[in-house]
Symmetry: C2
Subunit: 211 residues, 2 copies
DNA sequence: TTGTTAAGCGGAGGGTGCCTCCGTATCTTC
DNA sequence: GAAGATACGGAGGCACCCTCCGCTTAACAA
């Protein structure tokens, strides 16, 4: 907040609206058509002129970055919501599952993201920070509730998560990761006394059909 | 239905020549201008028509892949040459240094490469194989000469190498990696008897500021 | 309200690069 | 040397990029 304390006009409502629209459209278009998708298509889908798009996001990379940031933020907010859930372990599991989806939609954009990260390490710092906090908060709650071991740091959790997603290209990776996460979360869980928690529970028959 | 086993014509000399020219030009142009560089520029630099370029490499990705393959091959051949060197430890060091250069030129193309790897795991397999063999052969010679410890696999070597290059973005990474490699190669070296090889050599102050 | 004005909007248009297509040139084979 | 097969070049049509500017509209002051 750099208050130019003196008199900054309120930003125009239409500008705010259009910016949001463009972001929404960009998310859809890029997810569908990859990072090469036409910016003109984005503008059209957003229902704004191409000039408007360029004013808000002078380069394709700016647009990428904004879209990505927004999604990270949404993931962060999801964690906020899930904090209210009854079962904190389940909440963590849910969040991780959403994060897998998030990674999945980034599939085709990996390359673009790599570039963005390279040119703006601030972006990397920002997202790491947000995600670490999100995962840490959920984990913290589960620990506080005495349902999860405490000797794992949020950073470790995040690293484990990304590590699991690293297999990325293999077909069916997504369901594989979901399975691994189940195992992982179970592993984090503090068993109520010596009760050896029947892992038999046939872990949801194939969370997702592969394709 | 290929194998017209009978009678395949010899490929035309000019076609072979042009293909090679295009590859050479592409390497230069991409290294200079990144993976977005204009294919027309490549054709011009190669001194061929744009049509010729497209006939040999129907898509930009095909061209990328071919350039990359070629460089891997050259690295592999370099290892071949270095096998003849007198000092096998030095030979390994040299090769690693060249490999750093190789990675350096790929800097801007990382994203493109990631894509290529994704769409053709054969490419990944090929290059891993070649590089592993190259590094393994040099290492093997040094081991055979009794100058290097033998309990490290070529895969480990390669992994260590890539790991070191992972820091990529930080400024000055290249010299940092070269320094690390020096240390590493020294570590691999079998000391001639108990002679504790003065590591005192004041390892350059501050490999890297933390941030 | 109404008037003023900065902020924002749209999209035409000039430029660049992509890729196809085909008449021409060159090479291999017999 | 002749006959094909093969490869060549680059014109041309198209898609997309991005800038520029006259018009519109929202915010603020009176």
């Amino acid at each position: 907040m750099d208050d130019h304390a003196d008199h900054t006009r309120k930003p125009r409502a239409d500008a705010v609206r259009n910016r949001e629209r463009v972001l929404e459209a960009a998310k859809a278009v890029f997810n569908a058509g990859g990072p090469e998708a036409s910016l003109e298509a984005v503008a059209k889908r957003a229902g704004v002129g191409i000039g408007t798009l360029y004013r808000h996001f002078p380069t394709r990379e700016d647009l990428f970055e904004a879209v990505y940031r927004r999604e990270v933020e949404q993931l962060s907010e999801l964690a906020e919501h899930l904090r209210g859930a009854k079962d904190p372990v389940e909440a963590l599991r849910r969040w991780l599952q959403s994060a897998v989806e998030f990674v999945a939609t980034k599939k085709g954009m990996l390359a673009a993201l790599a570039l963005a990260y390279q040119s703006s390490s601030e972006l990397a710092a920002f997202s790491m920070d947000r995600l670490t906090k999100a995962i840490g908060s959920l984990h913290g709650r589960a620990v506080a509730a005495g349902q999860m071991r405490a000797d794992i740091s949020p950073e470790d959790l995040l690293r484990a998560f990304f590590g699991m997603c690293y297999m990325h290209d293999q077909p069916g990776w997504q369901s594989s990761v979901l399975r691994l996460l189940d195992v992982f979360v179970d592993g984090l869980r503090l068993q109520p006394a010596g009760k050896a928690r029947a892992r038999a529970k046939p872990a949801k028959p194939a969370v997702k059909r592969k394709r």
